[in-house]
Symmetry: C2
Subunit: 214 residues, 2 copies
């Protein structure tokens, strides 16, 4: 094993332990991926404000606390990880950040670094990967970033209000998603207005019930 | 020096040699950065179609040749690098890719991987970094991805046609850019219609003249 493989293996092992530990405590961990500006934070706000769970957010950022402040102002329990130019979060960072909460049964959302590549490669203890993309990002994204779309368990296509002004082709997009991923549901949403988020929340509620069943 | 530092140092060294070699041959090398879907390829098409140089494009992609085919169909000299999940291009890849061209005096544009983080950290022989962002990406990007904005020599803000439908705040954006970067000019463009690209081309022509002055 070379040095890269060792780091990777160590992260994977820690992610597995963390994921099992959270499951035992009935805490669902959602890893939120997306490119810069796709609307990850705004989507989280829409999801959380209608979700009757204890919700926690870990904000991953290169630098700055713009999103953390936004969430705090809404009374959402949030803590921040600054990666200082690292392009993804890793499991040790998550284990550390979780110490900032007194966790009860519920959902931890982790907003990963805005990047469709590296975050898809590193597990961070999640039970679910939520990918946020936007119609303004273009319908070719599943073809260009296949790993992120392959690993996603749920896909949000944001900024539907801008669809009439773009050349976003939903059929081409879905075809690209399905080439990589047969099962992840695709939800068209507008994080500005909240449109479409009811279905996202229903999906999460159902998933949580299944997740805590036994 | 640990293993990471060694790889990084080797890349930097190779970038320096490549950059000098290209300069001797009066070939300007432009490293094009931007997040997924910001409009890097479309911007390149607009730039190149009005630019009276020998132009070459190296397309960096995780996977797939969608953008390369687009450029080929327009008669643009293009070659492709597939990084297979690596999040940035590096100098050895560029040295290899350049062998696909019979280079004459002119401009090589390198479309880096769609990512605002890693590509900003690795030199690839460029003399100029062009950063492409879009109004739909949000005006907070310079605050969240400071390194990319700090290193940019020229900044394009694309999709101006969508500005009325977004909350993009040009003043806040400029403030964020200037916090990191005092000099890079900011051009508002629309790669769909070509609006604003005349100024971008003028900048490149002037830069090239200065560059080849000796």
């Amino acid at each position: 094993m070379d040095v890269y493989e060792k780091i990777y293996a160590k992260n994977e092992e820690m992610a597995k332990v963390l994921s099992e530990d959270l499951r035992d405590k009935k805490i669902l961990c959602v890893n939120v991926l997306g490119s810069p500006g796709a609307g990850k934070t705004k989507s989280l706000i829409q999801i959380i404000k209608g979700l009757e769970f204890e919700n926690y957010v870990i904000e991953g950022d290169i630098e700055g606390d713009i999103d953390t402040v936004k969430l705090q102002e809404l009374g959402i329990k949030v803590t921040q990880i600054d990666t200082h130019n690292a392009c993804h979060l890793d499991s040790p960072q998550i284990v550390d950040a979780l110490k900032d909460f007194e966790l009860e049964e519920g959902i931890v959302f982790i907003e990963n670094i805005g990047n469709l590549i590296c975050p898809a490669e590193f597990k961070i203890g999640e039970h679910l990967i939520m990918l946020v993309t936007a119609v303004t990002d273009g319908s070719d994204k599943p073809y260009k970033y296949p790993l992120a779309f392959q690993k996603a368990n749920i896909i949000l296509v944001n900024k539907t209000d801008l669809q009439p002004y773009t050349d976003f082709d939903a059929e081409f997009f879905t075809k690209g998603v399905r080439y990589n991923n047969k099962t992840a549901p695709i939800f068209y949403v507008n994080a500005k207005t909240g449109e479409g988020f009811e279905d996202v929340r229903s999906f999460l509620v159902d998933f949580y019930q299944e997740f805590t069943k036994e």
